[in-house]
């Protein structure tokens, strides 16, 4: 289990995660490189400066004379900076009585720290010199032919070291930043390229939900292929479960309704009062079985967005509906694009359109119009007839289960209730009004699968 804080801090995008990770380790690597390289460069520079100071020290000692009759003297050194006041290059020879100094030091003494280096050893110090400038100092103890030992020191302004180190640091930072930018761009390209199959997978899933595909097709990278395979297996299983549920519902209906048929026929010989009572019960049972069967069928839906070719299906249903009423001379006009698909499963489309057409055939004078189109991101099916229509007050009642407004017209009265049940399972709605043909117009709206 991941700590919740980390979980919260993680961005939701995989690409952002990978890029943030790459950026973090790049920053650490670049900062580390910069620190190591500048330290290395500074060490190297310091050694150079100190070697130069040691050379100056040797030259100073070579130019140091010890006359027998007086204090030691120094012949001028070759580097002119020793003669120029506060030039940044100094020497000093400490003596018990009066020290000797380079002209560049003017009237300032180098505050050498207390130190007792062995004879001939070189010692290094960092001190503050004239005008509070930091100085690098190299000193050595020299034993004159007579008298006390002398501390001989040569010093250089640390700017000799600091300035090039700083310049190097800037140049290094600039080039490292360019390298980092290059690596980040490469990482971005890699992540984008590497995550592309996920985008394709999303598109394939969306296509499936829209109903344009039944499964996820195509070849996938080895890392994604098992996911696709498993997902397809789940889809197949789902479809199989749905098919089995529908078959079971059908079998149950068969098991109930065949004996109902037998019972109804047996009642023909019964006493009229008993017969009419039992026939009524049988009718009630049949209605319940039909209702729950239709609901069970509609409820058993697969996850994938299913699509039904509207035009061909409407024509078939119209043929079946008119066939069921051979005594009625009715013609059905179907208006729909050949390519139009309804966002429902075939069985559900059949229940919706079939029941509506059946009603229309029962009531129509002679003409029925079934039209379907895609409108406002949804699907709209209208079925209207040129029959007597339905009074406004009665329109709500026809949705009630078993409600039938005219007992003379055969039918269970269940049709519109089933239509509404199925339509509502898909999140749609059914509306009744008066159509252009003069009779009832039923409008079914179904949203596109999200």
């Amino acid at each position: 289990m991941r700590p919740p804080l980390l979980h919260l801090a993680m961005p939701r995008s995989l690409r952002a995660r990978l890029l943030i990770g790459a950026g973090l380790w790049l920053a650490v690597a670049m900062a580390g490189s910069w620190l190591a390289l500048t330290a290395l460069f500074r060490d190297h520079l310091q050694q150079q400066v100190e070697a130069t100071l040691a050379t100056h020290l040797d030259q100073l000692l070579a130019n140091l004379d010890f006359p027998a009759d007086g204090p030691p003297t120094v012949r001028p050194l070759s580097d002119p900076r020793f003669a120029k006041p506060f030039s940044g290059l100094y020497w000093q020879i400490d003596r018990p009585d009066e020290p000797l100094r380079s002209r560049s030091l003017w009237d300032v003494a180098l505050p050498l720290p207390q130190d007792h280096p062995g004879s001939g050893e070189l010692h290094r110090h960092e001190i503050l010199g004239p005008r509070d400038r930091p100085l690098l100092v190299v000193e050595r103890i020299v034993q004159p032919p007579s008298g006390d030992p002398l501390r001989v020191a040569v010093a250089a302004d640390r700017a000799e070291l600091d300035r090039p180190a700083e310049q190097f640091g800037h140049a290094l930072a600039a080039s490292l930043a360019m390298v980092a930018a290059g690596i980040l761009a490469a990482a971005l390209a890699q992540v984008t390229l590497g995550l592309r199959p996920l985008g394709r997978l999303g598109a394939a899933l969306a296509r499936m939900r829209r109903g344009a595909a039944q499964r996820i097709e195509g070849t996938w990278p080895t890392e994604v292929q098992p996911l696709v395979g498993d997902f397809n297996a789940v889809l197949d299983h789902d479809a199989a479960v749905v098919a089995r549920a529908r078959t079971q519902a059908g079998n149950l209906a068969h098991a109930l309704k065949t004996p109902l048929s037998v019972l109804r026929n047996r009642m023909q010989a019964a006493d009229p009062a008993l017969r009419s009572a039992v026939l009524e019960d049988i009718e009630t049972m049949r209605r319940h079985v039909d209702h729950h069967l239709a609901r069970a069928r509609a409820a058993a839906r697969t996850v994938g967005g299913s699509r039904t070719p509207v035009r061909a299906r409407l024509s078939s249903l119209a043929r079946v509906a008119t066939l069921a009423h051979p005594d009625r001379a009715v013609s059905v006009t179907v208006q729909a694009d050949d390519a139009l698909l309804a966002p429902v499963e075939v069985q559900d489309f059949d229940e919706i359109a079939g029941n509506l057409l059946d009603n229309a055939v029962k009531w129509a004078g002679g003409a029925i119009r079934a039209a379907a189109e895609s409108r406002d991101g949804g699907f709209v099916l209208t079925i209207e007839d040129d029959g007597p229509g339905l009074p406004v007050a009665a329109r709500d009642r026809v949705f009630a289960r078993g409600e039938r407004l005219d007992e003379q017209t055969p039918g269970s009265g269940l049709g519109l209730a089933i239509v509404r049940d199925v339509v509502e399972l898909y999140g749609g709605g059914v509306a009744l009004d008066a159509g252009a043909l003069g009779g009832l117009r039923v409008t079914v709206r179904l949203p596109d699968a999200a």
Partner: protein, 219 residues
């Protein structure tokens, strides 16, 4: 007129057979898809009542095989599922009509009558030939408006001939269409039935075409 009833529920099959026989049809029965496939493919039925939920071979498959084999007999499909998809499948498979369970027995008989009548090209439910009138809805026969009483076999012979007016019908064909499969057939009895029909309806109604069979007299 001979009808095949394909239904696996014994009680319902008996009731169907009984009602159809009472309406004047010779009835054969099959209680599974395989037998139905065989009978429908070999016997010349005038109509079939076919339940879709059958053992061995389901009704839809039987129907498709018949149609693929060129069997054109009108078929009334019975089903408990009663879904629109199944109806479309049934009609697409070649069914001529469709009835959901539970049904009224009179409805089955009426649908079968209608199917047979339409299959033989008769637009009206009342078949008329000269003074003879046969109401397919009631099975009643009248001569000049006066009811005539016929036995079941006499009715079947007359009904078959009136469904195919002007066509010569052989004795063998008549035999095949008026007897159920398990009935002890004797083509000589056809002559007996025709003789009785002539006695009841008048000599001119059924004409004998020598060596070929019978034809309703072209009046």
């Amino acid at each position: 007129m001979r009808v095949l009833v394909v239904e696996d529920d014994t009680a319902l099959a008996e009731q169907l057979a009984h009602s159809l026989e009472a309406a004047g049809y010779a009835v054969d029965r099959a209680d599974n898809g395989e037998d139905a496939l065989h009978l429908g493919g070999t016997e010349p039925y005038d109509a079939v009542v076919l339940d879709l939920g059958l053992p061995v071979l389901d009704g839809l498959t039987v129907l498709k095989r018949w149609r693929a084999d060129g069997v054109t007999v009108p078929v009334l499909v019975l089903t408990a599922r009663n879904s629109w998809t199944e109806r479309v499948e049934g009609i697409d498979a070649g069914a001529d009509d469709y009835l959901g369970k539970p049904f009224h027995m009179e409805e089955v008989v009426a649908r079968i009558r209608g199917l047979i009548r339409r299959a033989s090209g008769q637009p009206s439910p009342e078949l008329t030939h000269g003074p003879v009138r046969l109401d397919t809805r009631t099975g009643r026969v009248t001569l000049n408006g006066v009811p005539v009483k016929l036995t079941a076999h006499e009715f079947r012979v007359l009904s078959y001939l009136m469904h195919h007016p002007g066509r010569i019908v052989s004795k063998a064909e008549l035999t095949e269409h008026i007897y159920a499969q398990d009935f002890d057939r004797d083509s000589n009895t056809i002559e007996v039935f025709v003789g009785r029909l002539r006695r009841k309806l008048g000599d001119g109604v059924v004409e004998t075409v020598r060596g070929a069979g019978y034809r309703l007299d072209g009046t």
